[in-house]
Symmetry: C2
Subunit: 193 residues, 2 copies
């Protein structure tokens, strides 16, 4: 992947998350995320680093083949915004590497919150100055846990690691995606989050 | 498992879901749920039928070992409500079999909505007439996708099926849990659901 900073990527310069470190620790415990998963994600980072574009091809292919999903990259009357797709793609690739390599500290928590906001009425479209639909529905945020997890296994297996190591990386990925989705949804339902 | 109807189980007699059949079809497509998954879940039903209490032992053991999770089965001042735990457990077991065997029709959609409501300020505690905390936070609803999925694999493998069949059942289970979690969250964020 590119070593350039993706357009609109503001990791390290977003406001503190309303989610506390204690909330995060409880959420990690709820998805059984441990220091071993952190290690497995570091390994996954090395495995995935030169496959990011291939992974994005699979994910974008999936979105592109479903009009009800492409709609979130289109104007309200359905014109697909290719520049928007491209800009988000750069950040999506960066997110893969951040998921593998960033420690779960205050910056990480802050940027997870920013990612969530960028899918809601609060901030969708703002980063890329586009005229797309006003938010990504919560249900698709949750639904994406499946494709974003299941499609990853083949890529984790592509570098000849033993089945046991692939499985460890895959489970850590699944835990992290689930955990991050929970964090992203804070702005959707703050009063019952 | 018991052949009795669990306490508070009202499948088939709840109001229509606000979620349309078209919304459901799009959500199914988003988790790649197909007729093959429906078949795999039918197979899983036969595999899991006599293991339901063992599965619930694992899940309840997980909850019991985390005070921040047991709290949702306790009074606001922290007294665990054992009768409440037992009543919910009966429905949780029934949910496993319903996930495997119920078709995704209007009744199923309606009851998925009812399950969601029973975790929110709208209806938590009402079914069991208990004085517990007012809602289960959205973040734990999402987080549970991981343990409820990952712990299932061993049970699906317990009846000697070929690895490929176990994997098929497991993926179908993962898709269904993700899909149902998305449905359960409708009452948490109706305006951006």
């Amino acid at each position: 992947m590119s070593t350039q900073t993706p357009a609109g990527y503001t990791y390290g310069s977003t406001p503190p998350s309303p989610v506390s470190r204690d909330d995060l620790a409880k959420l990690e415990a709820s998805v059984l995320f441990t220091a071993e998963d952190e290690q497995a994600l570091r390994m996954a980072g090395d495995v995935l680093e030169d496959q990011v574009e291939d992974i994005l091809d699979v994910w974008y292919g999936f979105v592109a083949s479903h009009p009800h999903l492409v709609a979130y990259f289109a104007t309200p009357d359905g014109t697909v915004l290719n520049d928007y797709l491209t800009r988000v793609r750069g950040r999506f690739g960066q997110w893969i590497m951040d998921t593998c390599r960033r420690p779960h500290d205050a910056d990480w928590l802050s940027y997870a919150h920013e990612i969530g906001l960028r899918h809601t009425k609060d901030k969708k479209n703002r980063t890329d100055a586009v005229n797309s639909v006003p938010y990504v529905p919560l249900r698709y945020m949750v639904a994406f846990i499946y494709p974003i997890t299941a499609t990853m296994r083949q890529f984790l297996a592509n570098k000849g690691h033993a089945e046991e190591a692939v499985e460890r990386m895959y489970q850590a990925w699944f835990k992290s995606v689930t955990l991050q989705t929970a964090l992203w949804l804070q702005p959707y339902a703050a009063d019952q989050w």
